[in-house]
């Protein structure tokens, strides 16, 4: 994220803050729910539903951060970077393939969002609008695709993502 536009840096920081807050709230919520359930037999209503929907947003919301920081898990057996003629071509192909897949994912979730909207789907307990959740997930997947497209232009960044394992 060193050479990016200041607007993107601000977006990156805000998104990081939102996602960090979300996981923190999920942790505290889960802990309080369990404590209440076992200590006073009163679990927080709908907490499991909130955590499930929160996870959906967290996964897709964090994907642009992973992509922008080149932190996707990749196989690193061949160092394409060593060949200055092949490297840009491979980098372009990798980023274009990846962006197309992310756009497809975004589109398919958008379809699900439209389906949810068509019959007014809501979560079973808290009656949260599922279409809205799906739209957020779709938008984030789309943004991830855009980042891959931006990375496919030479000089912006490398396709050689860092290898990481949990």
């Amino acid at each position: 994220m060193k050479k990016t536009h200041w607007l993107l840096r601000i977006f990156h920081n805000y998104l990081s803050f939102i996602m960090a807050s979300l996981i923190f709230i999920m942790m505290i919520g889960g802990l309080v729910d369990i404590s209440f359930r076992y200590l006073i037999n009163k679990p927080i209503p709908g907490m499991s539903e909130l955590m499930a929907l929160g996870l959906g947003i967290l996964v897709y919301g964090s994907l642009p951060l992973v992509t922008a920081n080149n932190e996707h898990i990749t196989v690193d057996l061949i160092s394409w970077n060593k060949n200055r003629y092949v490297a840009p071509v491979v980098s372009f192909l990798v980023n274009v393939f990846s962006s197309l897949m992310l756009f497809t994912i975004s589109w398919s979730i958008a379809q699900a969002a439209m389906d949810f909207a068509s019959y007014g789907a809501r979560s079973s307990f808290l009656e949260i609008n599922l279409s809205m959740i799906a739209w957020v997930m779709s938008a984030m997947a789309f943004m991830c695709g855009l980042i891959f497209i931006a990375k496919s232009f030479p000089g912006k960044s490398s396709n050689q993502d860092k290898e990481k394992t949990p």
Binding site: G30, Y60, L65, V94, P166
Partner: protein, 429 residues
């Protein structure tokens, strides 16, 4: 069957090009599924998997356990664990290596990550072993090998993923990993004894600690021991579901780091961001693996494999050994999580049809993956060691891990020959 073999080959091509693993599997999974069943069902399947996979309460276990590990890593636990282990074992020949092993085992129990264990323990244990003139080969070998325990000793993210992919009880998988984890510690200890018996200069004795020092060192790690016992004990007795255990673990890790005074706003933010990014990385692979698994299933590869083994009239153990051999070879090329997610949909139905226990197979897969973490050319833990200790050659580290690879192969043979070692504890649940 041909179409699935072409699909698998294309996945490898994409991965070698450098396409992120989850995305590579998703591309081929979607394209292959579309080729077989047509566009409409493919788009429907795609929407279902990409939306429904992450919207799941039971899967919140993944970020919460990662969060627990990250909090505990930041709490400076590694030094405390090492000091405690050293105070009991340091005065034996190879005692510092044994202490490193014990600290790796304990640290991995709460971090759940092999690479985090290897990277952290290399910073803590290596300077100490060097000050006692331990050979670089033994010192780096024991850290790299000890680090592999992270994916077997519960809670392990890989076991969670295996449980999700195969619909097996995650609590039982966690408990099943305990005895093989202890056997690993014993066998690695035997490997250290063997190396230091052959070359006493490789691991000289350290100083003997007094009981007062030992008790003081133990006291510093008591909080984390209690957290581990609450999580695993709670799962074992049935007080918690795995998801609840993860929430308790993450909350406990947070309070542990808070009490230790290692959490500032900045470190808290770093830990949380690191956790969400790791979660996204894992889920994109999980989504890709689910899409790829659907393609493999409609292409009929698992059924074809079962039919082929029936026709060949091979003994189940021969087929199992063949599968393990494939895992060991793949492990030399692929990263651990993706190897598991790529292969389990193919081999799992075959293994179950042969009558092997799915929980046992999960542990066996993890043990083979552990071996792959320290075998060339990919051996990720070895490269982590090289990254943290640039002055030690890769050759020296691989030489150092060799006795531990042999110990792992013995352990694998033992667990294959005696499945009860894996299945005894889960059978009591």
């Amino acid at each position: 069957m041909t179409i699935s073999l072409i699909g698998i080959s294309l996945v490898f091509v994409l991965l070698l090009l450098g396409v992120p693993i989850g995305i590579g599997m998703a591309i081929i999974g979607t394209a292959g599924f579309g080729y077989i069943v047509g566009l409409e069902p493919t788009l429907s399947m795609l929407g279902q998997i990409t939306y429904e996979t992450p919207v799941s309460y039971s899967l919140t276990i993944i970020p919460l356990f990662i969060l627990m590990g990250n909090f505990i890593s930041r709490a400076g636990l590694s030094q405390g664990l090492y000091d405690a282990a050293y105070s009991f074992l340091g005065h034996y020949r190879g005692g510092l290596a044994l202490a490193t092993l014990a600290a790796c085992g304990s640290f991995s129990a709460v971090s759940g990550s092999s690479l985090a264990t290897a990277a952290t323990m290399s910073k803590v244990a290596m300077p100490q072993m060097r000050s006692y003139k331990y050979s670089d080969s033994l010192a780096t070998g024991v850290i790299a090998a000890g680090g592999t325990l992270g994916i077997l000793i519960p809670p392990s993210v890989l076991l969670v993923l295996y449980g999700i992919m195969t619909n097996n009880d995650i609590g039982k998988l966690f408990v099943a990993g305990i005895i093989p984890g202890v056997i690993a510690l014993l066998m690695y200890g035997a490997a250290i004894a063997f190396v230091t018996a052959r070359d006493p200069q490789a691991g000289p004795r350290g100083e003997r600690s007094t009981w007062a020092m030992r008790l003081s060192a133990l006291k510093k790690t008591s909080g984390i021991a209690i957290l581990f016992l609450v999580i695993i004990g709670g799962l074992y007795i049935g007080i918690f579901t795995p998801t609840e255990a993860a929430a308790v673990g993450a909350g406990g890790g947070f309070f542990f780091a808070l009490v230790k005074g290692t959490l500032t706003f900045t470190t808290l933010f770093d830990v949380l961001v690191e956790t969400v990014k790791m979660t996204a990385m894992i889920f994109i692979i999980l989504i890709g693996a689910s899409l790829f698994s659907n393609f493999i299933n409609v292409a009929g590869l698992p059924r074809a494999l079962v039919a082929w083994t029936d026709n060949m009239n091979l003994a189940p153990i021969a087929i199992l050994l063949g599968i393990l051999l494939i895992y060991i070879i793949l492990g030399c090329m692929l990263e651990s999580m993706s190897m598991m997610l790529l292969t389990v949909p193919i081999f799992y139905p075959l293994i179950v049809s042969l009558g092997f226990d799915p929980i046992w197979f999960g542990i066996i897969v993890i043990v083979v993956i552990e071996i792959s973490l320290i075998t060339p050319p990919v051996g990720l833990n070895v490269f982590i060691m090289k990254a943290t200790l640039p002055d030690v050659s890769i050759k020296t580290i691989f030489k150092g891990v060799f006795p531990f690879v042999i110990a792992d192969l013995f352990r694998l043979a033992l667990l294959v020959a005696l499945p009860g070692l894996v299945l005894y504890l889960p059978s009591l649940m």
